[in-house]
């Protein structure tokens, strides 16, 4: 079963960290990454640029309109994601809990939709 682990961050909590704490966060996440690669559970993932780099796109009457900045202003924003393919939801939650951001802000675990299906 594939899950997307959505990693949230907030400027308030991030700014409060010391450089050493940020380095440790990077290190712990990369350690988790190598572990997941070795176990054959890692499917993909990326860190996302700062929300200030976002460009919103809305099409109205067939005309695309773009706006700089995030789609909605929120205190917590999506900072990155990992996609894992693992045995169970329990395992996905265990992985999510090891993403360092989970201790600072939060991580959301969402199942990824399957393209197959059973007739009912």
């Amino acid at each position: 079963m594939k899950y997307m682990l959505l990693i949230y961050s907030s400027p308030a909590t991030w700014d409060a960290l010391t450089q050493a704490e940020r380095d440790e966060l990077e290190r712990a996440h990369s350690e988790l990454y190598y572990e997941l690669v070795r176990s054959g559970e890692w499917v993909g993932g990326n860190a996302l640029a700062d929300p200030s780099r976002s460009v919103g796109v809305r099409v109205r009457d067939g005309v695309p309109v773009t706006t700089d900045g995030p789609y909605v202003e929120v205190k917590e924003h999506l900072a990155g994601y990992d996609v894992v393919d693992c045995e169970s939801l329990e395992r996905a939650l265990e992985i999510a809990a090891r993403i360092p951001d989970a201790a600072i802000c939060g991580v959301e675990v969402r199942p990824i939709m399957d393209v197959g299906g059973m007739e009912m």
């Binding site: 393919d85 299906g117 007739e119």
Partner: protein
């Protein structure tokens, strides 16, 4: 009814299909040579040989992890060379020689790097094959490897199938130490090894597809919609787990045979289901898994013809696969069994499945796969949905529930009971499942409840249940189907399959 898909079965997801298709287009390492037909038959030949070659080399060197890699390299070399140079007179011998050379080359180069003394045993000249380019004809060493025929004595577990009949072509050296009394076929031995209890079901599936079915890692990755590197790691890890568990190439310990056989059948069932759930053209690579599952199950059935559960599983697969042409629309929407165009069912597969289960039921120790096949056969025998012999299906589900109690079975049984005694009786049957942790909150429970409420005429509750089920499922085609059902309740003009 459908074979119940076990809860917790790993499912694959959208999002990787573009990558997966790209990988499989040229990534399977088996280039087409003289037309697709020739390529297909070469591919078939190589896949059939794969487990026997692996068995022959393993019996000699015992290093499962590296030997398996070496055999894959030999298969790849054959796929590249044979279309141009022709298939050698003894393809099995050719592959064994090439795989052995790869293996010893690897040991030799490792030994050069490491302490020579520590590796002296692996470099014993006696175990080294003769040098030279492999060509047509079997090397002398190979004859010694594969010469002994299968033992004539029976299997270790009569209940699990009685005396296995070795394939004439199998390379079992049943006479060597520790093998006595076992009519060995490498395909079965490898299958049982790949289904070792140290592995998770997903790892058992991946390893079986590579070591027993002879698929490349790229093909397996493509079928499961994960990057090839991910699948490589998974397979490597699975092989290591087997080594760490101390399992060797050979019959499983006496007490383990029954459990291992059960795991092997479950693995074949999972491979089949994974392929069967594919609903549209761009997932064809996944659909090929049903063909692989049927091929492997057929091999096991040929080896253990008296094993009723193997026959039952094969019949179940054939009867289920026969419905494939009718179970989806051209654009990939799911069609429920009751609404399928039965003229599109594959007659030959139905016939074979019905004959097989009809011949098996009176003879064998009855088990869950046979009962599921029997249920599928009753459906297959109805020319129209309304001709279905529901009382017989209810009786079969009752037997199944007694033997293999499982909430998925209860669900299917409730649908059948509703056809015989009315929807309220079906609803009563599933009521306790809402308190069963294994299935409470599962979309299939909600979907069956919606179906029964709809039959009972409780439109508002049925609508709410279909909506809830569509939120609970993680399958896009199922979600589309459930939403369509909900919409049809409020607007009968709503196209049934949008």
């Amino acid at each position: 009814m459908d074979p119940p898909r076990p809860a917790g079965q790993p499912a694959t997801a959208a999002g990787q299909s573009a990558t997966a298709a790209g990988q499989s287009a040229g990534g399977d390492g088996r280039p087409a040579a003289a037309g697709p037909a020739a390529a297909a038959s070469l591919d078939e030949l190589l896949r059939g040989l794969a487990p026997r070659v692996l068995g022959a080399v393993l019996r000699r060197y015992g290093d499962f992890d590296r030997t398996e890699d070496a055999v894959q390299e030999a298969l790849l070399a054959a796929a590249l060379q044979w279309p141009g140079e022709g298939v050698p007179r003894n393809p099995h011998g050719w592959l064994v020689t090439v795989a052995t050379r790869r293996l010893t080359d690897q040991w030799r180069s490792e030994a050069a790097r490491r302490d020579r003394e520590a590796n002296a045993a692996a470099l014993d000249p006696a175990t080294r094959p003769a040098a030279g380019t492999p060509s047509a004809g079997a090397p002398a060493a190979d004859a010694a490897l594969t010469g002994s025929g299968p033992s004539a004595t029976g299997g270790p577990d009569a209940a699990a199938g009685g005396a296995p009949a070795g394939l004439a072509s199998s390379a079992g050296s049943a006479s060597s130490a520790g093998w006595a009394g076992w009519a060995v076929d490498d395909t079965l031995t490898l299958l049982l090894l790949c289904c070792h209890e140290a592995l998770s079901p997903a790892s058992q599936v991946a390893l079986t597809l590579r070591a027993v079915a002879g698929l490349t890692t790229a093909q397996i990755a493509s079928a499961f919609l994960v990057p090839e590197a991910t699948m490589t790691r998974r397979i490597t890890r699975a092989k290591r787990s087997i080594a760490e568990a101390g399992a060797r190439f050979g019959p499983p310990p006496d007490g383990d045979y029954g459990a291992r056989m059960q795991a092997a059948l479950h693995t074949l069932y999972l491979i089949f289901n994974e392929g069967y759930t594919a609903t549209s053209g761009d997932e064809l690579h996944r659909a090929e898994l049903t063909g692989e599952a049927i091929r492997l199950t057929r091999q096991v059935h040929r080896l253990l013809p008296a094993d009723g559960e193997v026959a039952g599983l094969l019949a179940l697969m054939l009867l289920t696969e026969a419905r494939r042409p009718a179970r989806t629309t051209a654009d990939g929407a799911l069609v429920p069994l009751a609404e399928q165009d039965r003229s599109r069912w594959d007659r030959a597969q139905l016939r074979e499945g019905i004959d097989l289960i009809t011949a098996t039921l009176p003879r064998a120790l009855i088990g869950p796969y046979q009962l599921q096949a029997a249920i599928a056969a009753v459906h297959a025998e109805a020319a129209r949905a309304e001709d279905t012999d529901w009382p017989q299906i209810v009786a079969l589900y009752q037997l199944l529930e007694r033997r293999a109690p499982n909430p998925m079975v209860t669900l299917s049984q409730a649908v059948a009971v509703a056809e015989v005694r009315g929807p309220r009786a079906g609803l009563e049957l599933i009521a306790p499942l809402a308190r069963d942790d294994r299935i409470a909150g599962h979309h299939r429970l909600t979907a069956v409840r919606a179906h029964l409420l709809e039959l009972a005429g409780d439109t508002a509750a049925a609508h709410a249940a279909y909506q809830l089920a569509s939120q609970q499922t993680t399958s896009r085609p199922e979600q589309r189907y459930l939403r369509g059902r909900a919409a049809r309740l409020v607007d009968p003009q709503h196209p049934q399959r949008p």
